[in-house]
Subunit: 198 residues, 4 copies
DNA sequence: TTGTAAGCGAGACGGTACGTCCGGTCTTCAT
DNA sequence: ATGAAGACCGGACGTACCGTCTCGCTTACAA
């Protein structure tokens, strides 16, 4: 695992070292929790010098943000193209599962937690993750309104908090989200038109 | 400020020292954030020896929990006695405000955050705060059902997550909760009977 | 060797830890040279936390000075009481041997060297070691003058440099000092009266 | 100062870079002491890549040795041609001044010091500087003996240590050498014949 | 005339040690 | 017995240099 035979890179940034750091951070968070996520431990695990980490990341939080951004778009894309009642509901179910099951979900929760302790983390998390993602989620709902799936006249941002807040709070308190919670929220708050199936 | 003239205590637990520690922890959290909340700093500020802290509290988290429990019942009691549509709605509005405005709200958010990093914190937080409080909130809704204010047949625990989750998520992300969000949730999810005013 | 069963000390300075540090520093200097004499290595070898070292010594130089002062008075006392031609000559022979053979001699040379690199070391070395020792050496010569062994009228400090300088320079350049060098200097520079023997 | 407009060199060793390194090392030693004399600092100051230094010098000590050898023959040549009592005495006075005043004298002291910490430095210093210079100094005294200025029958190497040791020790301990010290040593140890003047 | 080989500035890399900070345990002594 | 004081071991922090390496450029010599 310590990437013994990684070729030296010379003058340019060593992509292999970057990957090793991201994976080491991810793995340590999952295996031993945020408390064990020290820069020294990441360096040790990645087989990388501490300075190599400090050269490229201002803090361990930014490392986690990098992994989160890379992973979360892969595992849980926001269905912005022609969203339907079905795809929106599926997105929320996927979101609930992502938070509980996916390593990247754990990373997100850890970052959201750390943001409470450090304003710098809060700002990074918003600028680099929450903001852009929320924009796409708004686009999703706006697409649903435009397509006639959803009635207009709601503040989409607030609506999203109402939908997503419960999922996140359940995850933060270590409890799975039952499907009925999501369905209840979707049914009561979104008032989607053709939701016959699902 | 470091409680200079507190009289020495002798052989019973020193209540003044206990208060000094609780206030010091509270103040440090508010003034400098969770990052500055070290046991050494608390001891310094409270004018107390480190050992006095470790003798009575297993960790700084338990100190915060003590302050949270003491404060939150005072500032935000759960209206379990004959809850009405009005009092339930007021409770949720009060909760949103508590999270943003009240020092104890900050303590709660900090503990909820810390619980993500440490399973021991998570367990304490549930056993000593979240569990009991949630029980009383369930009683509140159960009282509303019994009084005919709310229709029966819902899982009250899940319903509470749907109501409270958005408020907490807004607070965690540093945004105030608009009244319309709460009202929308209450209206759509609770289906309360006599909600004429407000 | 790492002093495993040293009893914990509590409120007062731990004398065992102090000794362990001094010995570790001494040993490391002798065994691996000044280059290997890092604070981390001393701490490791002494079985002591780094902070314990920084608490009591401002730098590794002061550690060495402590060992030097303790040792050099034991191994090479200055014969201030009724010095004779014989005892003065013996002192210089002893000094030459001290520099080459004695661990404390190595410590002295290392400190004299380090003083070239750091003004702070130079000052400490003078104030705590060279100055006091030179005072006693002057007393020695002054006693010889008073006792009629040595003619008066010389600057004793300068004379001592002429006697001691060659020994130190030989030691610094890694060459033993032949007895004839010392005898030549003593005979030519000191002009001692009853030097029949030796 | 960092030699901005030095032309690139191409295929052969860049003499300008060599000079820049030597001067940078010299200047840093004088201005900020041996502690600040890191390879990185030299490279920075000389406007040269670290690798250029490592390509041509095995260590910073060899850089200093290069400057020392170049400078010390210029500033303080050994009077090997027909040495007289006057020229020998002048050489020793010049040596004392060289050690205190001349930048190259500081370099010498620094190297002599560093030699205590590192055997490799000691060896280089002897082979490249101390040995050859001592040979010429022996030649000087041998010339004096041959010319009748000095009586024969002494070990010249040992005599030189007796003459030079005090000067070096004074310099190492940061004290100027009074003229009387040198004169006393020359008079008492060398027994030069025609020393009427000076 | 054009490879090609070396020197060069630049700087990333794996390491080691720095000096500081805090955590949690322990002992001493005064109350 | 309690509590203030504070020494202790352990270990992470972020920084500075170490000595090695690769890159892309420039230049001089050889083919």
């Amino acid at each position: 695992m310590p990437a013994t035979q990684r070729p030296r890179s010379g003058n340019r940034r060593d992509e292999a070292a970057r990957q090793a750091v991201l994976h080491a951070a991810d793995d340590l968070l999952i295996e031993h929790g945020f408390g064990a996520l020290t820069v020294e431990a990441i360096a040790r695990r990645a087989g990388v010098a501490k300075q190599t980490i400090y050269r490229w990341w201002p803090s361990k939080v930014e490392i986690l943000l990098d992994t989160l951004i890379e992973d979360s778009d892969k595992r849980l894309p926001v269905p912005v193209e022609k969203p339907t009642a079905k795809s929106i509901r599926a997105y929320l179910h996927g979101f609930a599962e992502f938070l509980i099951q996916d390593p990247a979900g754990k990373v997100f929760l850890a970052l959201l937690a750390e943001a409470q302790h450090s304003p710098a983390t809060a700002e990074s998390l918003h600028k680099r993750y929450l903001g852009p993602r929320r924009d796409r989620e708004c686009d999703m709902l706006a697409g649903a309104v435009a397509g006639g799936t959803m009635p207009p006249g709601q503040d989409l941002d607030v609506t999203l908090d109402a939908l997503v807040g419960p999922l996140i709070y359940r995850a933060l308190t270590g409890r799975e989200t039952p499907r009925c919670l999501i369905d209840k929220c979707v049914d009561d708050l979104l008032d989607l038109r053709p939701q016959s199936e699902c």
